[in-house]
């Protein structure tokens, strides 16, 4: 009970802060996968535009989209597409979410560095995370039970991975971690662990092996670190990373988005370990005047 009050106070406090600050500050909220990237973009943007104020916070894609719908933020970061339920609730509160693609992610599957395995198929990864394969020996590893590390349900990565790879339910034995870094740490410490993280986090991680992934048994195995493969769509679990805004962006919001999509902004995307957007997404973004 005490914690319920605490939580309530925290929520109320955050709400107050948000309304107090929203007067002149651009609020960006959502996905923990791209929080570092957007923070970096905001930093550089603010250096170049004196007077611009942008606050970037995390909480998960679902949290960001909920905040956009409740008009608590101007831009929602999301590592998954908005779902039907959210569109419905947005419409009923008079918000029209527009989707802008700011970067591409090669979602990376990692295992402990001591695990001899270095590749899996999509089907195998799905079976592992659904709990149908429970021992490493079944996929050519040593005889060791598999320990799963995933994200919590407010994570866009959690949702995307389920839609794209599992196409079913996560094993209830999966440990649900707070963020990408916590998964890296857990897999690093656990010889039998496996987890999924954004490529931006995988690149700099030590002590874990980033697996090559193939679509099917006869497909070619590709690494999420292989830029050409991700950009050509050959890496099976590549995904666009989104920012959602209400309606057609104007003013400060439009200015910041344009910066992110500019050559300089896309260079930051690469520096942070993600991939720049392709022509196809550029075209889609152009619909919103970007």
């Amino acid at each position: 009970m005490r914690s319920v009050i605490k939580l309530g106070m925290a929520v109320a406090g955050v709400g107050l802060l948000a309304t107090a600050a929203s007067a002149d500050m651009l609020q960006v909220k959502g996905s923990d996968t791209i929080i570092n990237l957007v923070q970096k973009e905001a930093e550089v943007y603010m250096q170049q535009n004196a007077g611009a104020k942008i606050s970037v916070t995390g909480g998960g894609s679902g949290t960001g989209i909920a905040a956009l719908i409740n008009k608590k933020c101007a831009i929602a970061n999301s590592s998954r597409a908005i779902n039907a339920k959210e569109v419905e609730s947005a419409t009923s509160s008079g918000v029209a979410p527009s989707r802008i693609v700011i970067a591409i992610d090669g979602l990376s599957v990692v295992v402990n560095g001591s695990n001899p395995l270095n590749k899996l198929t999509m089907d195998q990864i799905g079976k592992i995370f659904r709990g149908e394969i429970q021992n490493w020996s079944e996929v050519g590893g040593s005889n060791m039970p598999i320990n799963l590390y995933g994200r919590q349900s407010n994570s866009g990565t959690y949702g995307f991975f389920r839609e794209m790879v599992l196409k079913g339910e996560y094993s209830s034995k999966m440990n649900t971690m707070n963020g990408n870094s916590q998964i890296v740490e857990a897999v690093k410490a656990d010889p039998s662990g496996i987890g999924y993280i954004g490529v931006g986090y995988a690149k700099n991680a030590s002590g874990v092996t980033i697996l090559d992934v193939a679509m099917g048994q006869n497909g070619s195995y590709k690494s999420p670190l292989d830029k050409a493969a991700v950009e050509a769509g050959q890496y099976p679990i590549a995904r666009p990373l989104y920012q959602y805004v209400n309606g057609t962006p104007t003013g400060a919001i439009k200015d910041f988005l344009s910066f992110e999509l500019s050559e300089q902004g896309q260079r930051i995307v690469e520096e942070e370990g993600f991939y720049p957007i392709s022509a196809e997404y550029k075209e889609a973004n152009a619909k919103f005047g970007l």
Partner: protein, 295 residues
């Protein structure tokens, strides 16, 4: 003059009465709010499913299920684990402080214990991740240190200050005559503390432990960070658990308002409220028995 003083007295009286009423109103208000938001949940999910369904998965790929049991068991596991660690330690420390320690030492230890109570739960959770977790993997060979045992140890640390200071008060309020009689009969210090003072203070100590338990079961941030949060039914202290408090904290941020899932989270909160309420009422009754016995 006396009129003025009387009025002042009355005003002060009313002020305190008002404070008391306000607290009761807040408590009642929270209960009604929880109840109002929890009841609609059972329009779509039967109470029976809520109680017996083996899994909590409101965000399911196919069909959402709302099972209280794995969370309830998880919460009870970490709480009982915490008490197993904290009660002997707490009573031991309390006995040391009230009967063994020199006054100088006591003056130092008592505030230190109180400082322990002031450590923010997120800091304790952090220690769980970087310190207790790796220690558990090292010691037990468990593959991951984020589990029920980790949560228990951290909650024990958090419940300790409550247990220590209230137990110490209880021990200190045992009439000196008991101690003197025991020593006069030839009992040594150890026998006096263990067989006379602790039994005499038992109800106060029990109340302290109950309050410590209430502290442990409602704690959120620490268990959220340190217990792994897997939805499966817990099967061992070395496996991950997802408590009622972590579930609410994780899911309330992203849930669509006024949906079954939303109401269900309030239902879980209501259960938690009832549990802590019962624990507090029991400890209160026990404690009053204790103080009355002293008079």
């Amino acid at each position: 003059m006396t009129m003025k003083r009387q009025l002042k007295e009355k005003l002060i009286e009313w002020f305190f009465l008002l404070n008391g009423i306000l607290v009761i109103l807040i408590l009642g208000g929270i209960f009604i709010l929880l109840l109002k938001n929890a009841l609609p949940a059972f329009r779509e999910v039967s109470l029976k499913d809520f109680v017996i369904s083996p899994i909590w998965n409101p965000d399911a790929y196919d069909k959402p299920t709302y099972g209280l049991l794995p969370m309830l068991v998880s919460s009870l596991m970490v709480t009982v684990g915490a008490l197993i660690v904290a009660i002997p330690l707490g009573i031991g420390t309390a006995a040391y402080m009230s009967d063994v320690a020199r006054p100088r030492v006591r003056e130092i230890v008592k505030p230190l214990v109180e400082i322990l109570a002031g450590i923010p739960s997120v800091v304790v959770g952090f220690l769980g991740i970087v310190l207790v977790g790796p220690f558990i993997t090292h010691l037990t060979g468990a593959r991951n240190g984020l589990n029920a045992l980790n949560g228990s140890i951290l909650l024990a640390v958090m419940a300790l200050p409550t247990i220590i200071s209230l137990s110490e008060d209880a021990l200190a309020s045992v009439p000196r005559a008991y101690e003197e009689a025991s020593l006069a009969l030839g009992a040594n210090k150890w026998q006096t503390v263990v067989r006379v003072k602790i039994p005499a203070a038992a109800s106060g100590i029990l109340a302290a432990c109950m309050l410590g338990m209430g502290r442990a079961i409602g704690e959120t941030m620490t268990v959220l960070m340190a217990t792994g949060n897997a939805a499966a039914f817990p099967n061992s202290f070395l496996g991950p658990v997802k408590t009622m408090t972590s579930t609410i904290a994780i899911e309330l941020g992203e849930v669509a308002y006024y949906t079954t899932h939303f109401y269900m989270l309030f239902a879980v909160g209501l259960i938690l409220f009832i549990i802590t309420f019962i624990i507090n009422v029991i400890s209160d009754i026990v404690f009053h028995k204790h103080t009355r016995a002293q008079l």
